[in-house]
Amino acid sequence: MSSRPVTQQLGAQASSAWLPGSLLWRVAILSVVVVFAQIGLISEVPLFGVSIDLSPLLVAFTGLLCGSMLGAIAGFAVGLLIDLALLQTLGVTSLTFTLIGYWSGRLRELRDPQAALTPLLVGAGAAASAMVGYSLIEFLLGVDAPVSFELLRDIVVGVLLDTAVALPMWALVRRCLIGGLPEDPRRRRRRAYTTGGLSPLSRSSGRGL
């Protein structure tokens, strides 16, 4: 076990230790609220001819916070909910979102990116993957729609809009799920450094007092 990279060990730990009931409930409630808000409100407000889609952001950020397994499960559930509610072909959105949630979780488990722009990039990637993946599956299923400039434009505008709301959405998802997440030693260490708790300077000054 010592031969494996530390990130893999931590990722495995995260995946195995997670799926506590409270976290599942939080994810479920957040998913339902976001999906209904998306269908009932946000989809009704087009900007530049395209609506903001929060669902891929939700799935990606769930994976980024909770790991690949919960990300994949959340992706499948959210996708199924959307397909059912919008009377779409069942399985299309589920498949796309499952992969998005899984790979977002894997990103956290393998790289654990801490840059401030990580949610922005993950959100953009998730939005692009969702739109391209959905279009691809629809084309494979034989939807008679030509690949036009309009479609490409809509995809690009949609990705840009989703990217624009990625940071607020990340803050929302993080705020809702952070209470259900098990204590992560890396996070505790980062918080301690940030607040000065484990800073060598603070320690020395404390001793001096």
Binding site: S68, D83, A85
Partner: protein, 327 residues
């Protein structure tokens, strides 16, 4: 422990992907009354009240966002519509301008047909500048010597006589209107046949007075005054006979020559399109003009028009005018 976790994670992924593909295939393959479609309909039945409630609850928020969107749309639409309105206005202005020009050209055409103006080689010209003072005595037109316009050529519009060319450039000419103090026109009262000199009325811009009448026959208000088709001296313009000039407004009883006040027919304040009667060399009017120059001034013993008797006769022949001045 690690291997078990990895296996479980991969198994979950594989299961979910497989489930998605099974759902997709089954849904895509089954009929509208199939199980998955029914499940979807059932879900919608259950969820629709919630959706309705959410829709109603979120309506104000949606309306607010919609208001912002509509405002943005309205702004862009407003911009587009303004552009369209400007285009329509330009089009309308051009159309009105065209219609106005057409009406003027139609009048000119009627006049041309009635008076055989075509013999005088008319050149259509647009007024490019008008004297801004209240006397409105000169205008500038956009045709000049390159179009055959020469000094002393008569200028008419659809209503009648306007003036004569007094200066010529290659692409423009100055026209002195009949209200200009330097312009005199030999005219005839169409009802009585009396001939006289038409000049601007002193102190009343836009008014003409006919003096030195050949006959003191009474005139009636509203009688037409037309060109006589004769000249009174060297340098005078040979206006084709019968071109309307104005209407008699009153007769000055106190004047020894019983002068007549005349109001011009042409709206000299709003000239737009005019015609210059160029009567190019070799044409009948030009020949007449040359003849009148050669004959010189009229003998003092006869009436004013006697010197141009031959010309008058020819003019009468040419234009069918009513000149009766014969030598």
């Amino acid at each position: 422990m690690y291997d078990k976790t990895v296996r479980r994670r991969r198994a979950v992924l594989a299961l979910l992907v497989a489930l998605s593909l099974i759902l997709l295939t089954a849904y895509f393959g089954e009929a509208q009354s199939g199980g998955l479609h029914s499940l979807q309909s059932g879900f919608l039945t259950v969820v629709s009240p919630i959706q309705d409630g959410a829709n109603k609850a979120l309506k104000p928020v949606r309306d607010l966002f919609g208001w912002f969107g509509d405002t943005l749309d309205a702004k862009s639409q407003n911009k587009e519509l303004r552009k369209e309105l400007n285009r329509a206005r330009e089009q309308l202005t051009a159309d009105q301008e065209g219609a106005h020009k057409y009406a003027e050209l139609l009048k000119l055409d009627h006049l041309n047909s009635a008076l055989s103006i075509a013999d005088y080689h008319p050149v259509s010209a647009t007024v490019v500048n008008q004297s801004p003072n209240i006397w409105y005595s000169t205008i500038i037109i956009d045709q000049g010597s390159s179009s055959g316009v020469r000094i002393n050529d008569p200028v008419i519009d659809g209503e009648g006589l306007v003036g004569k060319v007094t200066r010529v450039a290659s692409d423009g000419a100055l026209v002195s209107l009949i209200t200009d103090s330097e312009v005199e026109v030999k005219a005839r009262i169409s009802a009585t046949g009396a001939i006289g000199m038409l000049q601007p009325q002193v102190g009343e811009p836009g008014r003409l007075v006919m003096q030195n009448r050949s006959s003191n026959a009474p005139v009636t208000r509203g009688d037409y005054v037309v060109t006589s088709g004769t000249v009174s001296g060297e340098g005078d313009s040979l206006y084709p006979p019968g071109i309307p000039i104005g209407l008699v407004t009153s007769e000055n009883e106190q004047s020894p020559f019983k002068s007549v006040n005349v109001s011009p027919l042409a709206d000299l304040h709003n000239l737009d399109t005019v015609e210059v009667l160029t009567s190019t060399s070799g044409s009948r009017p030009a020949t007449l003009s040359t003849l009148s120059e050669r004959l010189g001034p009229a003998p003092s013993t006869g009436s004013e028009g006697e010197g141009t008797g031959g010309q008058a006769a020819s003019t009468e022949e040419a234009g069918g005018g009513g000149s009766t001045e014969t030598g």
